[in-house]
């Protein structure tokens, strides 16, 4: 099944999709990466982060600073962001992982904001609010961007799946279900939580570095955004399905394509935002575990209606 989907996805650019459609597909894949990364930490390990923008932004800035300070291709940022973000998330995890539940959520939320304002203030290093702009993006055609992010997504998917099915995955779930019980069973919860955070952060950072290359422009308000990055990430996973392999992908499709579709309904004007908000409310009320997580329920509900 995954291979079939991968084959279809790999063949997608050959079907002559318009550049507009490719842009949306690339965004979907990119957000799936962030969503899957978040899912590892939030869905499996139960640590709900409200600050994934911090990792996304650090990744994006790694690529950007490589370009502005060392004058090398920002594509190096995609691999190089991994050690940078790993170090960063190790440090951050050391602080925030002491906390649990809503307190962890709030601490991560604050960490994203701290990173945003720090990036704004370190003008000499990050360019401050003026941001970083790449003079000329690598390709006009979107095909290569697509394959690169698809590769990242495939790696992410496989990694998350392998991890979730390994012993590590069981430790993660044990921590999510009851951290004290897990601790008393001899699981080193701090170690495994830090591990989950680092892996999750690195994958998000890689997506951030890709964003720098793809969009060609970043500033602190764009990549460290609370609503547009951190919260969108949570919504992608929650709408798609927490702790499921395909949930984040489905979530990304909904959050990007549906949002774009509703937005471009002519005549709706600014009301598209209300529609989208209401849709989110409905999804979460009826399908609290997301579309993939509550798929049986969704099928049942639809069947009931037909009968």
């Amino acid at each position: 099944m995954p291979f079939v989907i991968l084959a279809i996805l790999a063949a997608l650019p050959l079907t002559g999709l318009s550049s507009y459609a490719m842009h949306l597909v690339i965004l979907v894949v990119m957000w799936s990466v962030v969503g899957m990364a978040w899912n590892l930490l939030g869905g499996y390990c139960g640590q709900v982060s409200f600050g994934h923008a911090a990792y996304f932004g650090v990744g994006a800035y790694t690529a950007g600073i490589l370009y502005t300070k060392m004058a090398i291709s920002p594509w190096w940022g995609v691999p190089l962001s991994i050690p940078v973000v790993a170090l960063f998330s190790f440090f951050l995890g050391y602080i925030v992982l002491r906390l649990r539940g809503p307190f962890f959520a709030l601490a991560t939320l604050a960490s994203g904001e701290v990173m945003r304002v720090t990036a704004e203030n370190l003008v000499d290093f990050t360019g401050g609010t003026l941001g970083i702009m790449i003079q000329e993006r690598t390709w006009v055609e979107k095909t290569w961007y697509y394959y690169i992010i698809l590769l990242v997504a495939t790696v992410t998917f496989v990694l998350v799946k392998k991890l979730a099915e390994s012993k590590l995955g069981y430790y993660f779930v044990a921590i999510r279900e009851d951290q004290d019980a897990a601790e008393s069973m001899g699981i080193n919860t701090t170690l495994y939580k830090t591990l989950a955070l680092c892996i999750s952060g690195c994958l998000t950072g890689a997506a951030g570095a890709f964003y720098m290359n793809y969009m060609g422009y970043i500033d602190p308000n764009v990549v460290f955004a609370l609503h547009d990055i951190s919260i969108i990430t949570i919504m992608i996973v929650m709408v798609g399905g927490v702790a499921t392999y395909w949930g984040p992908v489905v979530g990304a499709v909904i959050m990007v394509l549906l949002a774009e579709w509703i937005r471009s309904i002519p005549g709706l004007g600014t009301a598209h935002y209300t529609f989208f908000g209401i849709l989110l409310i409905i999804i979460i009320i009826f399908l609290p575990n997301g579309i993939v997580g509550d798929f049986p329920k969704l099928k049942r509900l639809l069947k009931l209606q037909k009968a």
């Binding site: 304002v117 003026l130 774009e260 002519p266 935002y273 009931l304």
Partner: protein, 396 residues
Amino acid sequence: MKRLSFAVVFIFVLSIFAAPVLAANTFELVIPLPLTGKQAKFGEMMKRSYEMAAEEVNARGGIKKKKLILAFEDSGAKPETARAIVERLIDVKKQPIIVGEYTSACAKAVAAVAEERKTPYLIVASADDEITQQNYKYVFRQNQVNDHYADALVSFFRDVVKPRTIAILYESSAFGTSGAEAMAKDAAKLGVRVVMKEKYEAGSVDFRPLLSKVKAARPDVVYMVSYVMDASLLMKQIKELRVDAKLFAGGAAGFAIPEFIENAKDAAEYVVSATLWTEQLKYPGAGEYAEKYKARYGAYPSYHGASAYSAIFVVKNALERAKSWTPDAIRDSLKATNLMTAFGPIRFENREGYRNQNFMDTLAIQVQSGRFETIWPLNHASKRYIYPIPTWRQRR
């Protein structure tokens, strides 16, 4: 579940009915704008101005006898969304020219796409210098760049105020930062010492700590670069703390919109600001546009609106002169633009490292008896400037 399916059906029906029926003899221009979020106010003002211009164009027979139909898409000031809109316009709608956007972040995203896809893009109100410094061939900008926003103000300083010290306060954004940098450079040229240069987070509630520091530093001029309401909060709190200076000056944006006077009231009196346009300018159509806008929406527009209004005429002019309505032909005719508009004369030049940039006179305005008056340069002035200004104590 019933409710869910109802909602879905409802949206479907809406989307079907809302699809516009297009006649062959029309030219549709879709404009990306921020209509939600923090920048929505400017998006709205520009939307109204575009619409007013389109009405006038159509009343006079449209563009080459084609009726101009405008549509707007909300980018919410998100670069990815702005890019999505423009990719669709170029790719699916085959629109040969792009106009619009407001924030510099979005304009950068759009400009990069326009250049790659070889479609001309006319920037209306994004001020970030970088955009036209990229040597983009297809990107045109009709508003002045941030670096030059304060030109008139600086010459006012030089000729009238002759300050020895200046304090620069600016908001933490691309606009604020580049405005402050430009002023620091100008100050160095004039031999004015910068005693303070500090930024603040836009939307702050309390500026008093910052202002007490300004008060202690006793600068001759306090120059502030702020968006919208920060400007009036700053002035209100300056009044309250009785910070006295020879002149309070603003760098366009928040200091040059009607809300500034409305909100800051007597605290706004005598404040001088840079601006790109006022309704008192003697450009053809400027006054009429402003009055019409005021009659319709209850307040005068700021330069953002005027620029949007004139952009439609620039597009009309370019389309009429273009050999064909292909992106390249339109690009060439845009490049050759030499048009007088309500916003001022528009010509796209390559100089000072900028490409396809319209350089226009900037102005200085002053609040006098609760109204904006154009005071500098003198040939555009509607009233004589008031200087020196009274201290806060004397004003009671």
